[in-house]
């Protein structure tokens, strides 16, 4: 009995030692010399492997960052400035802080304002739909509503609102990795600066048709009337090809354009107070009058 136990122990011990030796030799033989900083950088990464940085994953990003002469072309949008500060500290580089970004859906053609003109009977995929035709609404530019962006988002930040038929972005969960931007065949989604406390103003429409055509397809389409650009005192709005665009870097969040937009295509979000259109219109009126008087005086 006891000899059995002893033999068992002996055999297992010898086997263990032998295998350990083999493992050691193999590990030595196939050892790859790697910059230890790659591991460190990888540890500092969020580990989502989303590809938002343009590399295949966090490890690939780390390898590229270690090799790169500076961090100008390597930025992890998911980890943001905190992560990049850590990476910079490990590598001894400087990093420029970037304004946090967020995905913005630039279409407000809800089912209510943008009626369907035909019925889609193919696969529920925006890519397939876009390949075939302009979509089941009269608007050839807006959201197709099949949720490719939702499927592309790894962070659960996007969801389709069944009532509007449009995707909605959860600011808290969005990491600005850009997967949805790539997935959208209509380029409806744009990464824009999040803005102070999430406040931002943007044109939620991409319809480049002439006013009446756009209006017929969607009641809240941008008709390219240019009122917003005229109203803006910060030179932040450009109207080109029948569509307005707000330059986030110049926008001062005064919301005057939003109040003046005749179709409601301009959206302001996360403002503490609801938009008081009348007050703003009054303010603009007074300002215009004063300007007129000043011009007349001269």
């Amino acid at each position: 009995m006891s000899s059995t136990i002893i033999w068992t122990i002996a055999v297992i011990t010898v086997l263990g030692l032998l295998l350990a030796l083999v493992l050691y030799l193999v590990a030595q033989k196939f050892k790859v010399e790697e910059d230890p900083r790659i591991d460190e950088v990888e540890k500092a990464m969020p580990g989502a492997n989303c590809g938002g940085c343009g590399f295949a994953g966090c490890r690939a990003f780390a390898e590229a960052a270690v090799k790169a002469p500076n961090l100008d072309n390597n930025y992890c949008p998911v980890g943001g400035n905190d992560t990049m500060a850590k990476v910079a500290a490990i590598l001894g580089y400087e990093v420029k802080a970037k304004a946090p970004m967020v995905a913005v859906v630039r279409c407000n053609g809800t089912c209510a304002v943008r009626p369907k003109v035909n019925e889609w009977g193919g696969t529920e995929s925006c890519a397939v739909k876009a390949q075939l035709y302009t979509g089941d609404t009269g608007c050839a530019y807006g959201c197709l509503g099949c949720g490719d962006c939702v499927k592309a988002c790894q962070f659960g930040a996007l969801s389709m609102n069944p009532e509007t038929g449009l995707p909605e972005v959860d600011d808290e969960k969005c990491t600005a990795c850009g997967a949805c931007v790539k997935a959208c065949p209509k380029n409806v989604i744009e990464l824009r600066p999040k803005g102070p406390r999430g406040m931002r103003v943007f044109v939620s429409c991409l319809n480049r048709d002439k006013g009446p055509v756009a209006k017929k397809a969607c009641a809240s389409a941008c008709i390219g009337c240019g009122i917003c650009a005229k109203t803006c005192t910060h030179d932040a709005i450009v109207v080109e090809g029948n569509i307005a665009y707000i330059d986030a870097s110049k926008c001062k969040l005064c919301r005057e354009c939003e109040a003046m937009c005749p179709t409601g295509a301009i959206h302001g979000v996360n403002f503490p107070k609801p938009l008081d259109k009348d007050a703003i219109k009054e303010r603009i009126k007074i300002r215009n009058q004063k300007a007129k008087e000043a011009a007349a005086n001269e």
Partner: protein, 323 residues
């Protein structure tokens, strides 16, 4: 017409669906079911009812409560699994053993992989082999038939021969006890589905005519079994059984026609299918001649099922205008 329907081409569809294919397989099994009823009586039908009901119920429950997907029982594949499982068991199997088989077939072999289309092994066969290993007594007890014709009860022909060979008898002596007409029309003992080889073959012909299955898998199994046994029988007829005997016994026809041709667990290409069939035939004969189980079809099919992903990877269709 309110709004135009728009979708990519093609705009029409062949009159075929998973359900119609499965319905055809069920129709093809009807002769075998009738034969098993004739030979083994009401008990066999009851057994089949238990088997089908447990398979369908289990699939419904798993899709509804565990996978939380739309139910897939409408495609009738669970019904086929139930029928095949029952046909693969002795009619005397207790009902609770059949239910355990159904749990293994549907719950383990099919739904754990994600349901129809995802499983690696034929569910009914996994159920059967599980029962064979777990309840060998029930699975090899062939009680006296209570059907409507005089069928002989007793061990399966292959079982009898292996038993006899161990006791030193020669194959010629042992096979002389069976005549081939019996084997073709009414098996002497064995699983319910083996009751009548002709009924199974009729179903196979029906499936081929309806273009539900391609015959090459089945034919290459038959061919390989015949060839392998011909070689061995030619070498030593006193130790090895003859080709016709091997073709007609041990559930080979049931396995080759209905189990090996299961879409999900067989290769898609012609040459993949042929190799799959050759593998099954060869392994079956090896197990029969040299293994400890007298019947090898189930094991052979399951082993070759495991190779299917490789066969699908290796054998592709010939592409147009390419070498």
């Amino acid at each position: 017409m309110e709004k135009l329907l728009v979708s990519p081409n093609p705009h029409i569809h062949a009159p075929v669906s998973t359900k119609t294919l499965m319905r055809d397989v069920i129709i093809a099994l009807i002769p075998a079911v009738i034969c098993s009823f004739v030979f083994y009586g009401w008990r066999e039908i009851l057994l089949m009812a238990v088997s089908v009901a447990s398979c369908v119920l289990l699939e419904w429950a798993i899709t509804k409560y565990m996978l939380r997907k739309p139910s897939t029982i409408g495609d009738l594949s669970a019904v086929i699994t139930g029928i095949l499982l029952a046909l693969n068991l002795p009619y005397s199997t207790p009902w609770w053993v059949v239910m355990i088989g159904a749990v293994v077939a549907i719950g383990v072999a099919k739904m754990t992989f994600g349901g129809i289309g995802q499983n690696i092994w034929n569910p009914a066969l996994v159920g059967r082999v599980f029962l064979l290993v777990s309840f060998p007594t029930y699975m090899t007890t062939w009680g006296a038939p209570k059907g409507f014709v005089d069928a002989v009860s007793g061990p399966t022909p292959l079982g009898a021969i292996q038993e006899g060979l161990m006791q030193g008898a020669s194959v010629q002596e042992l096979t002389s006890a069976f005549n081939y007409k019996d084997l073709l029309f009414a098996n002497l003992g064995g699983s319910a589905g083996e009751a009548c080889a002709l009924a199974l073959l009729a179903g196979f012909v029906y499936l081929c005519c309806r273009k539900v299955i391609k015959p090459w898998i089945t034919l290459s199994i038959f061919g390989t079994v015949a060839l392998t046994s011909l070689i061995f029988w030619g070498i030593d007829p006193s130790r090895f059984t003859d080709p016709l005997f091997n073709l007609l016994t041990g559930g080979l026809i049931l396995g080759a026609c209905f189990m090996a041709t299961d879409y999900v667990t067989s290769p898609m290409s012609l040459w993949g299918g042929v190799i799959f069939g050759v593998g099954i035939g060869f392994l079956t004969m090896m197990i029969r001649y040299f293994g400890s189980y007298p019947e090898g079809v189930s094991f052979a099919i399951l082993i070759m099922n495991s190779v299917v992903p490789l066969l699908n990877m290796w054998f592709h269709q010939k592409k147009f205008g390419r070498k």
